[in-house]
């Protein structure tokens, strides 16, 4: 192990690092106590305030975090960490006009930074500007071919844009390097759902729930997929696989098929109508009933 490198003498920095370590481990309460102590001595320290914003963001208090970061930037317009974090929060909150302005300003100041291009790509993706998002991600990769952030954004673009059944090269590359990365696994589950692979998506979602038992998102998804994968839902397969398009095809098939059957074999038309109508009723009524029963 290398010898310890002492930081430049600044207790505020040391505090900020320690708070950062606690926040990395989701120890918000301990981090806040330490932060309170630190801010008592260094109330205007930008790095400490940045950690305070991180603590707020961890507790889903993004508005408060944004306010803190804006204050830091007002005092120190060149504080990169605060600007970068603010960009990510604004994107998450959907404040895309402001996020874009910030991203363009940062890229102007740091034109060789692939992370900034990737961050801007993420803003564009969130703004549903798909060609521009992909172009920006590719620009980031041009600056640095292995940039992790850019690959993640590209993977997101692929999941959104690629036709069903098409693999994402970027996602595959990322998974090879980070096979247990939670964000990537989450993306994989989404891709599986979009490809209609309910069973695999359920397995993935269960794994995510084991990793995040307190996540309402994963709990709801596992519950939903558990219902959809129940054996009594097997007749719903065309609807699950092709969604509303499948519904349209079934409806058309039913109408046309029954009409033809009525002319070719009138005796069968009656029972076939009952069956078809029964299937329609089953498709609407059974899933919510099953859900209520399974989740009691």
């Amino acid at each position: 192990m290398d010898a310890a490198e002492p930081l430049q003498p600044s207790s505020a920095e040391a505090y900020a690092r320690q708070v950062g370590e606690l926040l990395d481990r989701r120890r918000s309460a301990q981090a806040r106590n330490l932060l309170r102590e630190a801010l008592a001595s260094f109330p205007d320290d930008a790095d400490l305030l940045l950690q305070g914003a991180r603590a707020d963001a961890l507790e889903d208090r993004n508005a408060s975090a944004i306010e803190t970061l804006q204050r830091v930037i007002a005092r120190q317009p060149d504080h990169f960490g605060a600007q970068a974090f603010l960009l990510s929060l604004l994107t998450e909150e959907g404040e895309l006009a402001e996020a874009e302005r910030l991203a363009l300003g940062l890229i102007g100041a740091h034109p060789q930074s692939p992370d900034l291009y990737a961050a801007y790509a993420r803003v564009m993706l969130r703004a549903l500007q798909f060609p521009k998002a992909r172009a920006l991600a590719q620009e980031a990769l041009h600056l640095h071919p292995e940039n992790d952030f850019a690959l993640r954004v590209l993977a997101l673009c692929d999941v959104i844009e690629l036709p069903r059944g098409t693999d994402s090269t970027a996602l595959r590359r990322l998974l090879a390097e980070h096979p247990e990365d939670q964000h990537l696994l989450s993306l994989v589950v989404t891709a599986l759902l979009q490809n209609g692979d309910q069973r695999a998506a359920l397995r993935g979602a269960r794994e995510m729930l084991r990793q995040h038992p307190d996540s309402p998102h994963w709990l709801n998804l596992v519950q939903q997929l558990s219902v959809q994968n129940h054996w009594t839902m097997k007749p719903m397969w065309p609807l699950q696989r092709w969604g509303w398009t499948g519904s349209v095809v079934l409806w058309v098939g039913g109408v046309v098929g029954l009409r033809v059957l009525g002319q070719v074999s009138p005796a069968l038309a009656g029972p076939a109508s009952v069956l078809w109508l029964g299937y329609v009723v089953y498709s609407w009524v059974w899933p919510p009933l099953l859900r209520r029963w399974l989740l009691r």
Partner: protein, 156 residues
């Protein structure tokens, strides 16, 4: 210096330019099923407006409305059209024309779903708040059905 300076021009500089989550596919299909092709066209227009791509998609919405109007005019006012209508009724029963209209609306809806496929997927992926489809859906059904019947009566 970037190879692509065009990428560094602002795209969503005003909040009003930012796309919003579209109505769900369920709202679209149910509106089209009960409201007919005009409802489907209106739904396409409404989603295009929310997604800030109305200039691009307005033509498709107008095409759907125009195609259905042309179909009604053809089947109500021309000889070949009337003959086709009779044949369809012979094959499909009294409700053949309304079934045909419904099919047209649903196919238009499938087209809309494909046109806005990326936006719909993004809305799901990013967990964007979808607008409530009930009020709009019922309004579109009423308007679409009403417009179809009025037009059919006028052309008959």
């Amino acid at each position: 210096m970037s190879r692509r300076p065009d990428l560094l021009r602002p795209t969503v500089s005003e909040p009003a330019q930012v796309a919003r989550a579209p109505y769900s596919l369920q709202t679209g299909f149910l509106s089209a099923f009960f409201g007919g092709p005009f409802a489907a066209a209106l739904m396409l227009g409404l989603n295009a407006w929310r997604l800030k791509r109305l200039p691009r998609d307005a033509a498709w919405a107008l095409l759907i409305a125009a195609a259905f109007t042309a179909w009604l005019a053809f089947t109500q006012q021309t000889e070949p059209g009337l003959a086709l209508q009779a044949r369809l009724v012979e094959l499909g029963g009294r409700n053949a024309m309304s079934i045909a209209a419904r099919l047209f609306a649903l196919l238009a809806c499938v087209g809309t779903a494909l046109l806005h496929r990326r936006e719909q997927r993004s809305a799901d992926l990013f967990g964007l708040q979808r607008p409530n489809g009930w009020g709009v859906g019922i309004a579109l059904i009423v308007i679409g059905w009403g417009a179809s019947h009025l037009l059919a009566s006028a052309l008959a």
